[in-house]
């Protein structure tokens, strides 16, 4: 068995999700595990990536490849997989990686199973379906197999030591991979203080807070709990809270010990960003809100009534 893991980076930071997948790959029996990095300046990141379980790191180093577009990555990974005979390609889900995985599936005529939360050494994957009410065991009928994992499925842990073998990859891009160009980027400013991705406790607010100024409810509760504040796409789009706090498919993916959802309905866009939290507590007026389906404690009630009392009780408890 030989496994190739796509490692995504942003700037000089390797993405935790893909390092988690690499960590998992290293536990799959006696599989030969390699990583692949694509972009400008990635060669400098290769050794770090390898410590998460890759003996070999393929590096397609080029500034032209740095913009986070999927199709050039399909060209690179398809070439690496074909020339070296990798029978399994693993990716951690992201806006970029999902498009890379699907492009590879079509390019290599290779089966893709997505939204997996686990895989075993026999290459049987686990995929939650129907709002996570069923866990489906999925497999592949031929190689290469491609698997795309749900964010937060595996913890990243650096275990390997020793210098990896680094292999340079030069790729002639296909014509259709050269079509799309990123002409500018509006990246969020990095905020000071603990990031919501690293916080043990996250208090997030949604539309149900009613007005931007009511985000103070979330902020005060977060302060009392010692946590960070998150927000849904709806309120970020509405300008109530900064983009850097957005949790969801097109935002941060968090898996804190405690997630408190205030006035959040639990749309799929939001759910994918927080569903792997250890404990989820939600407060929402609407008894039918989807968030209750994946909350450990669901409270049907008014956030404006409950949250100030909750904040006070927690503050009292901590000071006593």
């Amino acid at each position: 068995m030989s496994v190739l893991v796509f490692i995504e980076h942003h700037g000089s930071e390797l993405q935790k999700g893909s390092l988690g997948v690499l960590t998992k790959a290293a536990t799959l029996g006696d599989a030969d595990v390699a990583a692949v990095l694509v972009g400008g300046g990635v060669k400098a990141l290769a050794s770090e990536a390898a410590t998460f379980g890759a003996a070999k790191v393929f590096v397609a180093e080029s500034d032209d490849l740095e913009p986070p577009l999927p199709q050039p990555r399909v060209d690179v990974i398809a070439k690496v997989a074909q020339e070296n005979g990798y029978d399994t390609i693993l990716l951690a889900n992201s806006v970029l990686a999902a498009d890379v995985a699907a492009g590879l599936s079509a390019r290599l005529d290779a089966g893709l199973n997505w939204d997996l939360v686990d895989i075993d050494a026999d290459f049987t994957g686990k995929r939650p379906a129907l709002q996570d009410s069923v866990y489906v065991d999925v497999g592949w009928t031929s190689t290469p197999r491609i698997a795309l994992f749900r964010a937060g499925s595996f913890d990243a842990s650096a275990t390997a030591s020793g210098e990896p073998q680094i292999v340079d990859v030069a790729v002639e891009l296909s014509e259709h991979s050269r079509g799309a160009k990123i002409v500018s980027q509006e990246l969020e400013e990095s905020s000071s203080g603990p990031s919501i991705e690293d916080a043990d406790i996250v208090v997030a607010g949604g539309r149900g807070l009613g007005a931007p100024e009511n985000f103070s409810l979330a902020e005060e509760l977060a302060r009392a709990l010692g946590g960070a504040v998150g927000a849904t796409r709806a309120v970020v789009d509405a300008g109530w809270y900064p983009y850097s706090a957005q949790i969801g498919q097109t935002g941060k993916v968090v898996s804190p010990k405690l997630y408190v959802a205030l006035g959040i309905s639990g749309a799929i866009q939001h759910k994918v960003g927080m569903q792997s939290s250890n404990v989820i507590v939600s407060i929402n007026k609407d008894a039918n809100a989807p968030i209750f389906e994946f909350s450990d404690l669901g409270v049907v009630g008014d956030v404006h009534e409950i949250v100030p009392k909750l904040t006070e009780l927690i503050a009292q408890r901590k000071s006593s």
């Binding site: 999902a98 069923v134 980027q185 409270v299």
Partner: protein, 256 residues
């Protein structure tokens, strides 16, 4: 300009997986995947008052015609349904092949998708179809415009926004934040019945049955299991004492 919108007919209400076939039970009522309504709306918006043609394309059972008619009622000009018993159970490899074949016949400038399928949570099909069509692809589009044969897309990612340009023809998946889909008017619903509607078999699109359905798929469902228990999930109604109950719960979990 010609725009194709790929849409999916998804089961309505509570879904189940058939234990025999291990496929999603599609025998009940269905509806247009609501994420695809955003793609239809965007196509209609791009068309505006211009002379672009909007064709909606679906792969599915005969009943998928209902969802295509809804898209026609919203304002699309024409519908194509690829429907064939041999196509049932197609995975991404097979589905993208079939859809690409159907789209090749249309030769459109833009192919639009919604951001995901609400039944399978799949959010990958466009990139596979784009690869088969050998066209540029952009996903998570939260703004879209076309000028002089170039597509301008604002893509939302985990890190912010990318402004992306791509030459036509291209494939785009729109985010559900891009617009508010219109509701079909009564006039639209009546008019939809007279709009051109083609139903095609695999033979019509030139795909061999061996490349479709389970035969043409490269993934399989091996079994169905229970999800891991989420502890003892509780739901309470606030009777004025919810704050204290939450604190007790957090204390029990050693979180405060």
């Amino acid at each position: 300009m010609k725009i194709a919108v790929c849409v999916k007919h998804v089961p309505e209400g509570s879904s189940r997986i058939d234990p025999g076939s291990k496929r999603l039970d599609r025998s009940g009522e269905g509806a247009l995947n609501h994420f695809d309504a955003n793609a239809v709306e965007e196509a209609l918006r791009l068309k505006g008052d211009g002379d672009a043609e909007v064709v909606v394309v679906s792969l599915g059972p005969a009943k998928a015609a209902d969802s295509l008619r809804k898209a026609l009622a919203m304002g699309a000009d024409r519908a194509v349904l690829v429907s064939d018993d041999a196509a049932a159970g197609s995975d991404l490899v097979a589905t993208s092949k079939l859809l690409a074949k159907a789209l090749e016949r249309e030769n459109t400038d833009i192919v639009l998708f919604g951001q995901q399928a609400s039944d399978s949570d799949g959010a990958v099909l466009w990139a596979a179809v784009a690869e088969r069509l050998q066209r540029p692809v952009v996903s998570q589009a939260s703004e879209l415009s076309v000028s002089d044969g170039t597509l301008h897309v604002k893509r939302q990612t985990e890190f912010g926004y990318d402004i992306i340009e791509a030459p036509l023809p291209a494939v785009v998946a729109v985010s559900d934040a891009i617009n508010e889909p219109r509701y079909p008017s009564l006039k639209g619903i009546m008019g939809a019945k007279k709009k051109p509607f083609d139903t095609l078999s695999l033979a019509d699109i030139g795909v061999d049955a061996a490349e479709a359905g389970e035969q043409g798929s490269k993934t399989q469902v091996l079994g169905l299991g229970e999800p891991p228990a989420r502890g003892d999930a509780r739901k309470i109604e606030d009777d004025g004492n919810a704050a204290q109950q939450i604190v007790d719960f957090l204390a029990e979990k050693r979180l405060v």
